[in-house]
């Protein structure tokens, strides 16, 4: 999806902070791990380290009180990439996703910015459209080589025949 005009910042009264410390990264990694059903150590190994944030990768967290309730990662450039925007189920419908997304875009959007892009799930598409993103392409996503445990967890049959 593509957004050519920076959407207005909407915090909904939540505190939004850029990820600058190890503790904040730990909070962000925990949110992503939970949302993807990924072991914490796996998410920690794979996601950009704090040192990598200087490589054009940044992240923002939304806080309700002292608790981090949403995270978004972003890659900088003339086209801003939005990645792994996650909110645990118990914290949805509080506006925290909109808050971290619009604050991240406000922080990164400059005079040379062409727009922002992201890959949305079908479930997430209405939200992103409400922020100002529009679909450029549609994609069908498949899972290959997953374990029977993982397939069971996402509600898929363990044995799949080729079409």
């Amino acid at each position: 999806m593509w957004c050519a005009t920076r959407p207005p910042r909407q915090t909904g009264g939540l505190r939004i902070e850029p990820m600058r410390t190890t503790a904040a990264r730990d909070e962000a990694v925990a949110i992503v791990a939970g949302a993807h059903m990924v072991a914490l150590e796996m998410a920690d190994r794979t996601l950009a380290p704090l040192a990598g944030l200087g490589d054009g990768v940044m992240a923002w967290l939304a806080y309700e009180g002292d608790e981090a309730i949403s995270v978004v990662w972003a890659t900088q450039g003339p086209r801003i990439g939005i990645w792994s925007m996650m909110t645990p189920a118990q914290h949805r419908r509080k506006g925290s996703g909109r808050a971290v997304l619009t604050c991240a875009l406000e922080a990164l959007w400059g005079s040379q910015t062409e727009g922002a892009f992201l890959f949305s799930t079908p479930a997430g598409r209405p939200f992103y459209e409400s922020v100002g993103f529009a679909a450029v392409d549609d994609a069908t996503t498949w899972t290959t080589g997953a374990s029977e445990e993982f397939l069971a967890a996402i509600g898929q049959p363990a044995s799949v025949s080729d079409p």
Binding site: W2, A4, A35, H36, M37, V38, A39, M42, R45, T46, L47, A48, P49, G52, D55, G56, V57, W73, T75, G77, R79, G81, W83, S84, M85, T87, A89, R92, G97, G115, F117, F119, S120, T121, P122, A123, G124, F127, Y128, V136, D137, D138, A139, T140, T141, W142, T143, T144, G145, A146, S147, F150, L151, I154, G155, Q156, P157, V160, D162, P163
Partner: protein, 101 residues
């Protein structure tokens, strides 16, 4: 915004978000790219057949994933084709349901 152009940008940015993992491996062809971390979880091994994908791109991608020996997510652009149509499905795969943003 041109879909093929945007997929190219996507391929450029994706490895920056997930630079680590047990065995990071990145590769790209004419109409595909893969960002593998080597972790045993499909969400951490992301692959796309882009708008420029042809039949041979699908073969190359499947071979790359098989060589890495990891589970993966494979997204197929609706604009891919005509030789690698959007309804192409990786051998032995199953649909990935998404339940939440």
């Amino acid at each position: 915004m041109d879909a093929a152009d945007l997929w190219a940008t996507f391929a450029e940015h994706a490895p920056r978000v997930m630079p680590g993992g047990l065995a990071p491996a990145r590769a790209a062809g004419h109409g595909w790219f893969a960002v593998l971390t080597g972790e045993a979880h499909p969400d951490l091994n992301e692959c796309v057949l882009t708008s420029r994908a042809r039949a041979e791109d699908a073969v190359e991608l499947v071979e790359f994933i098989a060589a890495a020996g990891v589970p993966a997510l494979v997204s197929v652009a609706s604009t891919a084709g005509p030789d690698a149509p959007a309804r192409w499905r990786p051998p032995g795969s199953c649909a990935r349901p998404y339940v939440s943003p």
